[in-house]
């Protein structure tokens, strides 16, 4: 019996809710870790790049904080994605579920934490003296596009791994490369010749970070960038969904080996 389509959203939201509740109940500080973790990351990067390497400068902390928060949804969501179907093996072998439900639950869970962090970022920027920009309203469309992009990548990652289990070993390194090459703790304009910038920003993660910085710190919006991010997000979302749908019956067999 395949689940009725109208119930999918309800299941995704309810399961995401109880996943968050279960996660929070595991630690003493509960949901405060959603903020403490990136704050610790901020301290480490500031210590290494700002103090030891003297790479800081005016606005370094605000740029760094926006970068760390901006990359967060993608990194946290995708790092766990390759093993999603394997972790849900019991459900896969007992219930005829559309497989996109698992990455969707995971992405919604990460998205909720990200929203919390985004609100914290906005408060933090105000405290640090960044004047509110009207372009901050663009946070809504940018974040929506970002969620679609992340969901698309999560669907692809969790679908690939049952076919090629070794991918679960490889992905953390790819994720690390994306993190370090996306301008989280530097502005590529300060290092790269202009002709290479287009290639740098072809990396969607770098573009999302730039989009967050533009709308929150610089009061600008780059429509071309947003159009590019929207197009690539829709493409990945459709590709991921189609992949999981086409291979739907193969996953229980692959995870049962």
């Amino acid at each position: 019996m395949q689940l009725p389509h109208k119930q999918h959203l309800g299941i995704i939201l309810y399961r995401a809710r109880i996943t968050l509740a279960a996660e929070n109940s595991r630690t003493y500080l509960s949901f405060l870790w959603w903020i403490i973790d990136p704050l610790l990351e901020l301290c480490i990067f500031y210590f290494v790049f700002g103090l030891i390497l003297q790479r800081g400068g005016p606005g370094f902390i605000t740029e760094l904080l926006t970068g760390i928060v901006g990359v967060r949804l993608f990194i946290v969501a995708t790092n766990a994605s390759p093993s999603l179907l394997l972790h849900n093996r019991a459900a896969l072998l007992a219930i005829n579920l559309p497989k996109y439900i698992f990455p969707a639950v995971h992405t919604v869970t990460c998205f909720f934490k990200f929203l919390f962090l985004l609100a914290f970022l906005c408060c933090g920027l105000l405290v640090m003296g960044v004047s509110p920009q009207p372009t901050a309203l663009m946070l809504v469309p940018i974040t929506l596009i970002y969620v679609l992009f992340t969901l698309g990548v999560c669907m692809l990652l969790c679908g690939i791994t049952p076919f090629v289990p070794d991918f679960a070993m490889l992905y953390p390194k790819i994720s690390m490369l994306l993190y370090w090459s996306s301008g989280v703790f530097f502005r590529p304009e300060a290092f790269l010749p202009e002709r290479y910038l287009v290639w740098f920003y072809a990396n969607p993660i770098a573009s999302f970070i730039a989009a967050y910085r533009e709308c929150l710190l610089h009061g600008t919006v780059n429509p071309t960038r947003l159009a590019y991010l929207f197009a690539i997000s829709i493409f990945l979302l459709l590709l991921g969904y189609a992949f999981l749908a086409v291979c739907d019956k193969q996953f229980p067999r692959l995870v049962s080996k």
């Binding site: 119930q7 309800g10 109880i18 109940s25």
Partner: protein
Amino acid sequence: MTNTQVPAITVDDMHVRFVRKRLFKKTAEAHVLKGISFTLNKGDSLAVIGFNGAGKSTLLRVMAEILAPDAGKCLNHNVSTALLAMGVGMFPQCSGRVNTVMQLMLQLGIGKREAESMVDGIAAYAELERVIDDPLTTYSTGMSMRLQFAIATQSRPDVLLVDEILAVGDLPFRQKSIATMRAKLSSGDTVVFVSHALNEVRELCQRAIWLENGIILADGAAKDVVKEYVQYFNILGKNK
């Protein structure tokens, strides 16, 4: 029992293989179902018996449309199927109520409100009314099994597929759960029942299939097939 002429699921020369490839090891292949054929009619109570590794659970998963066969057919004649599953993806840190709602939504495909309205009845059946709002981590294994059984038996599809779930919990609850399963098996609903409990199979099922090593060795009246199975392996004494 009811009309035995209307097919619900037709299995025709069905093969299922599991292949595992590794770089430095020989490819491992398990040919789990080797060209089996039978028809499940509406109203049948069919038992599938056989030793561990015979392919019984794989057969149920194909009938539940969770797995697809490699060759041959498993033709569903427009009937809904559900594999009776216990404790699929429970969240131990969350309450019995929350887990029950989640399981009902997943297994029955119903909305949250409908699922919430069923929780108290399930808790009463499982005799867990006083602890249903406590986290599952505080439940004993028996209490957890009772809740899972109570959730799993809510399913009412056209064809119910039951994989070795007959009795759980302490003695009073075991009797209750056996009575529930007996009621399901003798209700006239279409049920496929995988079990090692040969006495119940003989008593409750009209028909049985003896599956061994992916091949059907016998298909017929439950009493006859169980008799054949017992004679062949001489296990009745051990079972008692």
